[in-house]
Symmetry: C2
DNA sequence: ACAAAACATTTGTGGAGCACAAACGAGTTG
DNA sequence: CAACTCGTTTGTGCTCCACAAATGTTTTGT
């Protein structure tokens, strides 16, 4: 059971590194389609996560609420997403992927597939599929987690919140 | 068996997303150790890639040469890396990981392991190991690729180290 | 009904990260 | 010697992002 405790490479560092390499290699393709990585990420999360409030979406994407507004404005301006008010709570906006957004996402995915093939030439096709599946599941799990964390309107206020209040290293 | 040809999720987007989640979750731990993600990435690549010139390193990290200078200054200031001149070409700097750097890297990896466990709670331990292995191999392949790409114009003395015939790009 | 809180929005500020260009000294090569 | 390379420094500008404050709308608690 004990996994190799020799040198458990930081997954975080590897992710960061590969994400950068991948982004650099694919940004040209995306740029030609008027998209950026974060758009692709947002659309991807949205596709998985059906209708979501902006709050949940911001939490899932780990970006600030106010910054999500601009991101959604861009996507909505392109007709890729749609905002409508929630029926239950009309303060909320329900964000959804439009058919055009789904097409754009699928198209972009196919377009950058070739660029990704170059990046992952060190992996076999099956390994790449495995990698994709693992990444997908890992992100999926986190989206749910964040959505749950976002719904802290519970009667019980989190007595033990993150201790990050204000610790800006001087 | 048949790899899903329906919608091959963009690995790029998934990587970007997970890398962000991971970074946000681990940055507190790293900060307490006076490190940032890019330091960890650089150290990781350096550990794998033994002695490397700054040119090769910049290519591997996909960052600008001029910005690498500052990054290495920080790491060298902490005693984590060492620059020495190349014997063959004294214009070059050979960057290497110091024992302190290796300790710092190992220590940071162990420290953020816990934070990573929270991020990847959606995956079993074995799956996480698989993911790590795949990421490692993918980055390793790319480092070699970049090093080869960087040394395009000096085909002379490349027959030095383990040059296992990097696949020439078509 | 009224006050308080939540949500989305807009705007502004500040900082981090990075690409890019230009110039320099040191060292190489032809 | 001249031309080039490498690492370095400096400066400029852009992008991304967190954070704060103010506003309008809607919900919720009393």
């Amino acid at each position: 059971m004990a996994t190799a405790r020799t040198t458990p490479h930081s997954v975080s560092a590897l992710l960061d590194h590969l994400a950068r390499l991948s982004r650099v290699h694919t940004e040209a393709t995306l740029d030609a389609r008027g998209l950026r990585q974060r758009h692709l990420v947002a659309l991807t999360v949205l596709r998985e996560h059906a209708p979501a409030t902006q709050q949940a979406l911001a939490s899932a994407l780990a970006i600030d609420r106010t910054n999500l507004v601009g991101l959604l404005n861009e996507l909505e301006g392109d007709g890729y997403v749609e905002r409508r008010r929630s029926a239950e709570d009309r303060r909320r906006h329900i964000v959804e992927l439009t058919p055009a957004g789904e097409r754009a996402l699928t198209g972009a995915e196919q377009a950058i597939e070739q660029a990704e093939a170059e990046i992952f030439h060190g992996l076999s096709e099956q390994e790449r599929a495995t990698l994709r599946a693992l990444l997908q599941r890992a992100t999926a799990g986190h989206v749910l987690d964040c959505a749950a964390a976002a719904g802290l309107r519970d009667p019980v206020e989190t007595a033990r919140d993150e201790d990050e209040g204000a610790v800006p290293a001087a």
